[in-house]
Symmetry: C2
Subunit: 333 residues, 2 copies
DNA sequence: TTGTAGGCGTTATCAT
DNA sequence: ATGATAACGCCTACAA
């Protein structure tokens, strides 16, 4: 592979001038620039990004930590981030945390040790204190889907409380009053917030929160199945089920059908996230849209603005979920 | 951040010795090793991976090119690769090709310019000749889900022909004889192979290939919908539909139901890939298992073996698909 | 506008 | 087993 040195020799200029051309520095005359460009082409020269990084203390890479590489949610998030970053010539280094505190810390260490210019984290297990400490380091940190007090500028988050509120409100407005709820793991902020929204909607309509109709799931299919089993075994009476995410809703729906419950006629179900699946399951799932791909784009813009000096980008830190009505909620009125 | 130089000073040894300790080179006495380790700990020293890369000509990173970051298929593939690589201390740089020739080439250039130690590619649009040329370069190339003559050692592939055969055979054995087929884009090898398998099963049972019951889709939901629309408009008679992948099967199923066709009683459907969705749609989809996560693991092992000298790894280049029976195929017998 | 020269933090090759 | 010292390929003051 040709080096900058060979290019400079062939073009009859100095190393510095070649470097100026590659870094699009304007302080080069058109004539010499052309000479350099020609030489580069002839030698098929490509700058060595490693050497660039070492000398400039910049890697043009941003580290991403997601909980899982698969799954509809993280796929869209990564796609949003990568798309935005790539057109700016930056690339992503991706690693996983599996919602486990040690693994998340591990992943972060790993990314930092790779000298990423910035980190975009979707962490769930690590404490706020840890994050705050982390932000004092030299690597800029940005957070997806998490709001940490004092770090507003570094967060892209969804109003999960509002989403939880909208879901339950939609159910109530269809005339339901016996409403079960399957929550997400309560160590996760979003799960907590969605539940809080649910309670607010209940309170606003003077409906009590019934502990017999409350179950804490795992945000996965199994959680939905376990939840509805629990309610059925308890012989609880309910006409509607609010799930803190779509995967649990799908699990609950499948299990309900297998137990002879017709949906939505006998049981209405609403989810949260609007993952692809929501459109495919039968009946099509009414749910709350989580604009995770947009949020991914925005996180990338945040990095571009604060780390790569693209000052003119407009940043939206808070995103609002919205209801999407499909076929899984029955109108009791 | 402390440098190797400061460590050497504090430990009272030379740069070289410190380097030997970090690189786990055995030629260091226990006593000096301990001194160095202590110094490192005291200074909280972390090797600068960029400098290591420049000096050693190794980045410990492998580039991955997938068609899309989202979608059930690539998620599992990436997860498999990352998991395997990460325990070996290597990391992944991921980029996308969107099944477009220019974008795929772009992505590859990009990864090579980042000095990845190796590339794992899931390319669909680029020609075999291009790949062969690419392999002559200095960056080792490995291929997922593609078989290129002469590059056997670098490929991890699925026997798509067999899968296609198994799907149609399963349908035939349930007594169906009017069988429609929605293929994938024929510029894609896997789509071609699956179709070939379909034809073989037909021929083996002395059933003709009927062009009126053949449609070429796009491997996405829309392709399935368009395909079944086409068959319905043609007033074709068929009791079974074989789709070259699950997404098209899901699209077809939804559209069929919306047109009053009950599944599987009036129409049997079988897919290919066994993406998560297959278990969730109603009725649950009978399909062909594509072990893409295992294949991801294996691709990573291939890299570990050939690039990172983990000589003792066993490599399986060819994977066999298998039928999984669920509820979408009706037994006519 | 262009060139000179000193880093950037390691690894690797020789000696010792 | 350990130490000097030259790469590695580029960037960036500073000088000219």
């Amino acid at each position: 592979m040709a080096t900058i040195y060979e290019v400079s020799k062939l073009a009859g200029v100095s190393l510095a001038t070649v470097s100026r051309v590659t870094s699009k520095n304007t302080k080069v005359s058109d004539k010499t620039r052309q000479k350099v460009l020609d030489a580069m082409k002839e030698l098929d020269y490509r700058p060595n990004s490693i050497a660039q990084s070492l000398a400039s203390n910049r890697t043009n890479s941003v580290g991403i930590l997601v909980s899982e590489l698969h799954g509809p949610f993280f796929g869209l998030m990564m796609a949003g981030i990568e798309e935005e970053l790539r057109v700016a010539g930056k690339h992503v280094i991706i690693t996983t945390g599996h919602s486990d505190e040690e693994k998340e810390k591990d992943g972060i260490d790993f990314l930092i040790s790779r000298n990423c210019d910035a980190l975009i984290l979707h962490v769930e297990a690590v404490t706020d204190e840890y994050i705050i400490e982390l932000c004092k380091g030299k690597t800029p940190i940005f957070l997806m889907n998490r709001y940490v007090d004092g770090l507003n500028e570094n967060c892209i988050s969804l109003d999960n409380e509002l989403g939880g509120y909208l879901a339950t409100k939609a159910i109530i407005e269809k005339g339901h009053s016996d409403i079960a709820y399957i929550a997400g793991p309560q160590f996760k902020d979003d799960a907590q917030d969605r539940l809080a929204g649910h309670k607010r909607a209940l309170a606003e309509h003077n409906m009590p929160f019934n502990n017999d109709l409350f179950y804490i799931g795992d945000f996965r299919e199994a959680g939905g199945i376990d939840g509805i089993k629990y309610f059925i075994n308890n012989k609880s009476n309910f006409t509607a089920l609010v799930c803190a995410n779509d995967e649990m809703a799908a699990g609950a729906m499948i299990h309900a059908r297998e137990n002879g419950i017709t949906i939505p006629n006998e049981l209405s179900i609403i989810g949260f996230d609007n993952i692809i699946l929501a459109r495919y399951i039968y009946p099509k799932l009414t749910t709350i849209v989580n604009p995770i791909d947009e949020m991914g784009h925005m996180a990338a813009k945040l990095v571009l603005k604060h780390v790569y000096q693209q000052k003119d980008l407009l940043i939206q830190h808070a995103f609002q979920p919205v209801l999407i009505t499909r076929d899984s909620v029955f109108d009791l009125k």
